[in-house]
C-alpha cells in the first residue's frame, strides 16, 4: 500500500510503501516521483497500541508515545500529539485518494458545519464572496463564547444556509465553499 502523508506546513506529501512482512509492519519512504529512486531505508516498526488511539513506537532505540486523533468528519485529517508538539497532517491510501479526487473529494465543495449547538452571531462572508483559507465565514456563539468558523481552503462561498440570530443544532450545515 502506498500511503501519502502531508504534514501541515509542508509543500508536498511524503510517500511511504507500507506492507506486512511476516506479521511485522514495514515501511520504506519513497522518492518524490515514486519511481523507486531515492528510496529510504526499509524500517520494520516496533509498535504497540497500549491505550486507545495511542501508539508506542520504538525507532532506532528511541521511544515515542504518539496520540493520534482523527477528525470526526474526515478520517484522513489527523492530529498527532508527540513530544509536547501537535502536528496536523493529511494521510491517505494513495490509490484510494485518487479515486476520491475524481469523485470531487477534497478539492470539491467543502461544508461548514456547526461543531456544537449554538447561535449564529454573524455571517462574515456572503454568498459569492471569494475567500482564502483561514478567512472567517460564520461566527457561532456556544458555551458562552464566540467561535469563528473559518474557510478550510481557498474558494467561493457557494451557499450560506443560516441567518444571523438563528439557533442551530450541532452538526448543522451552515455554508458551503466551492
Amino acid at each position: 500500500m502506498i500511503i501519502e502523508v502531508l504534514l501541515d506546513g509542508d509543500e508536498s506529501p511524503r510517500r511511504y510503501r507500507v506492507a506486512r512482512n511476516n506479521g511485522d509492519v514495514c515501511l520504506r519512504r519513497l522518492g518524490d516521483k515514486g519511481n523507486g529512486a531515492n528510496d529510504g531505508e526499509l524500517v520494520c516498526l516496533d509498535w504497540r497500541t497500549p491505550e486507545p488511539r495511542v501508539y508506542s513506537l520504538l525507532v532506532g532505540g528511541k521511544s515515542y508515545d504518539v496520540h493520534i486523533d482523527e477528525n470526526a468528519n474526515d478520517e484522513e485529517a489527523l492530529e498527532l500529539h508527540l513530544m509536547s508538539r501537535v502536528i496536523r497532517a493529511r494521510a491517505s491510501d494513495a490509490r484510494k485518494r485518487r479515486v476520491v479526487k475524481e469523485d470531487g473529494g477534497p478539492d470539491g465543495p467543502v461544508q461548514i458545519t456547526a461543531p456544537m449547538p449554538g447561535r449564529v452571531v454573524k455571517v462574515l462572508a456572503a454568498e459569492g464572496t471569494a475567500v482564502t483559507r483561514g478567512d472567517g465565514i460564520i461566527v457561532l456563539e456556544a458555551m458562552k463564547m464566540e467561535n469563528e468558523l473559518k474557510a478550510p481552503r481557498d474558494g467561493i462561498v457557494a451557499s450560506v444556509l443560516v441567518e444571523e440570530g438563528q439557533g442551530v443544532e450541532g452538526g448543522a450545515l451552515l455554508a458551503t465553499i466551492e
Partner: protein, 507 residues
C-alpha cells in the same frame, strides 16, 4: 458561631469537586447540587448528598437562588459555599443564605457589593492610602469633560465601563482626536453588554503585569496576606497561566503590596478569603484595580507555596474562629504554576469542544497536583464554562516547577475532546516566558505570531516520526477495513502489534 457540619456547595465542575474534597478532609458533609446535564458529574458522585436543581441551562439550575435555598433546607445544610462564578459574588444570594439562618462562606453581602462596584472599591482603596490608577473615579457624561480629564492625565488613557468586566466597554485612546468617538463606542458597547452605558477614564498603564495578593481575614480583625500570584498570562483579558511567587517581585515589593492589600481589607471591613488585584508597571510601581470577594480559580498555587488549604481556611473563618496564623507564620516555599485546562481547541480559534472523554491519563509524580472534574467516560456538557481541570506543578524553585509542568503536560492525555494542553506546551517552551519576561499583552501577541501554527519551530525528528505514525495508522485502518476483522479494529491492531516485539531493519 457553631461548627459547620454540612455544606451545600452551590457550584459544579472542578471547583465543586475541590470544595467537596476540603469538606471530606475536614470531616464535614458536602451536599452537591446538579442540573440535568450533571447527574453523572464527579461532584455529584463525590459528595455525601446530591440534589437536582433543574434543567441544564444555568439560569434554570445553578443560578436559581430559590432552588438552592430549598435544597439547603431539604438537605439540612448549615452553610453554603458558592465557589467561583455563578452566584459567588451575588450579594442577594449571600443575603438570602444568611436570612435563611445559614452561614455564607465568604465575605459579608455588603462588602461583596462594595467590592463589585468599581467606583466604591476605588474609593475604599484611596481611603486606605493604596495607589490607584490615576483617573476619574466618576463616570464621565460628555466628550468635553472626557477630553479635559484625558489631557490632565496625559495620553494614552483607558475608557472603562463602570459595570464592566472581561474587556467589554474598554477602549485605549492614544490620540486626543479619538476621545469623542471612543467614548461613544465604549459607552454603546457597555450599554449593550451590561445595560449600563456609564464609562470612566483612567490613565493607561503601559505593558502592565497583573499581580494579585491573596488575603485571609477573620471576624476578629486579624488579617494576613499569603503572598502574590502572577497572573499576567491572559488571553483576551482571561487568565490562562498563573504562578506564585511572581518571577519579578522582590521581598520588599511583596511586603509593600501585601501591606496595601491589607489596608484595603481593613478599610472595607473584609472577612474570609479574598484577592486584591494590582497592575504593576515597568518601573514596578503598583496600582490597585479591584477586589475579588471570593475564592479564585488560581488559589491552588498559593496553597502549594504556603502549605495553607484556602478552602479549609474559609470554612474555619466562616465558623467564627480566629485565624490560626500570624503574618510571620506565612512562609513561601518554592514556586508553583497553574495551567487552566479548557475543553477548547487552540488550533481552531479556541472553539469549545464539549463531548465524551474516551480516554484519560492523568499525570503524577513529584510536585504535581491535578484539580479536575474529569474521569474516563465523562461527557463534558455544552452548557457551562469549558474549564475542565487545573493542573498545578510545584518545585523548590521556578525552574523546577516549570520542568515538572512541562513533564506533566506531556503525560496528560485526554482522548476524545480537544483541550488547551498544546497551548501550554507552547508557552512553557517560550524563552520570554521561561525568563519571566512578559506582561498582560504577551500571550495575545504570541498567539498572533502564529505560535500554534504549522510553521512554528519545525523539528525534523518529530516530523519524521509523525509522518511514520500517520502512515502506520492509515495502513492499519485500511488493512482492518479490508480484512473486516470481527471485534473491532483496535483489538486486531493490538494483536498485530504483539507479533512485532523485535525491532528489525530488513534490507
Amino acid at each position: 458561631m457553631a461548627k459547620i457540619k454540612r455544606i451545600l456547595v452551590a457550584n459544579r465542575g472542578e471547583i465543586a469537586v475541590r470544595i467537596i474534597r476540603a469538606c471530606r478532609d475536614l470531616g464535614v458533609e458536602a451536599v452537591a447540587v446538579y442540573s440535568d446535564a450533571d447527574r453523572e458529574a464527579l461532584h455529584v458522585r463525590y459528595a455525601s448528598r446530591a440534589y437536582r436543581l433543574g434543567p441544564a441551562p444555568a439560569a434554570e439550575s445553578y443560578l436559581r437562588i430559590d432552588r438552592l435555598l430549598e435544597v439547603a433546607a431539604e438537605s439540612g445544610a448549615d452553610a453554603v459555599h458558592p465557589g467561583y462564578g455563578f452566584l459567588a459574588e451575588n450579594g442577594d444570594f449571600a443575603r438570602a443564605v444568611i436570612d435563611a439562618g445559614l452561614t455564607f462562606i465568604g465575605p459579608s453581602p455588603d462588602v461583596m457589593e462594595s467590592a463589585g462596584d468599581k467606583n466604591r472599591a476605588r474609593q475604599i482603596a484611596v481611603a486606605a492610602g493604596a495607589p490607584t490608577v490615576p483617573g476619574s473615579p466618576q463616570p464621565v457624561e460628555d466628550a468635553a469633560t472626557a477630553s479635559e480629564i484625558a489631557a490632565d492625565l496625559g495620553y494614552p488613557v483607558m475608557l472603562k465601563a463602570v459595570a464592566g468586566g472581561g474587556g467589554k466597554g474598554m477602549r485605549r485612546v492614544d490620540d486626543p482626536a479619538d476621545i469623542e468617538s471612543s467614548l461613544r463606542s465604549a459607552s454603546s458597547e457597555a450599554n449593550s453588554a451590561f445595560g449600563d452605558g456609564r464609562v470612566y477614564i483612567e490613565k493607561a498603564i503601559i505593558n502592565p503585569r497583573h499581580v494579585e495578593i491573596q488575603i485571609l481575614c477573620d471576624e476578629h480583625g486579624n488579617r494576613i496576606h499569603l503572598g502574590e500570584r502572577e497572573c499576567s498570562l491572559q488571553r483576551r483579558h482571561q487568565k490562562v497561566v498563573e504562578e506564585s511567587p511572581s518571577p519579578i517581585l522582590s521581598d520588599d515589593l511583596r511586603e509593600r503590596m501585601g501591606v496595601a492589600a491589607l489596608a484595603i481589607a481593613t478599610e472595607a471591613g473584609y472577612t474570609n478569603a479574598g484577592t486584591v488585584e494590582f497592575l504593576l508597571d515597568e518601573k514596578h510601581d503598583f496600582y490597585f484595580i479591584e477586589v475579588n470577594a471570593r475564592l479564585q480559580v488560581e488559589h491552588a498555587v498559593t496553597e502549594m507555596v504556603t502549605g495553607i488549604d484556602l478552602v479549609a481556611a474559609q470554612i474555619w473563618v466562616a465558623e467564627g474562629n480566629p485565624l490560626p496564623w500570624k503574618q510571620e507564620d506565612v512562609r513561601l516555599r518554592g514556586a508553583a504554576i497553574e495551567c487552566r485546562i479548557y475543553a477548547e481547541d487552540p488550533a481552531n480559534g479556541f472553539s469549545p469542544c464539549p463531548g465524551l472523554v474516551e480516554g484519560l491519563r492523568v499525570p503524577g509524580g513529584p510536585g504535581i497536583r491535578d484539580d479536575s472534574a474529569l474521569y474516563e467516560g465523562y461527557e463534558v456538557p455544552i452548557y457551562y464554562d469549558p474549564m475542565i481541570s487545573k493542573l498545578v506543578a510545584w518545585g523548590p524553585d521556578r525552574q523546577t516547577a516549570l520542568s515538572r509542568m512541562r513533564r506533566a503536560l506531556q503525560e496528560y492525555k485526554v482522548v476524545g475532546i480537544a483541550t488547551t494542553i498544546p497551548l501550554f506546551q507552547r508557552i512553557i517552551e517560550d524563552p520570554a516566558f521561561i525568563a519571566g519576561d512578559f506582561n498582560t499583552g504577551y500571550l495575545d501577541e504570541l498567539l498572533q505570531d502564529g505560535a500554534l501554527g504549522p510553521d512554528h519551530d519545525r523539528h525534523a525528528e518529530i516530523d519524521d516520526i509523525a509522518a511514520i505514525a500517520a502512515a502506520l495508522h492509515t495502513f492499519l485502518r485500511e488493512e482492518s477495513r479490508a480484512f473486516q476483522i470481527r471485534g473491532g479494529a483496535t483489538s486486531a491492531w493490538k494483536i498485530s502489534g504483539r507479533n512485532s516485539s523485535l525491532r528489525n531493519f530488513l534490507p
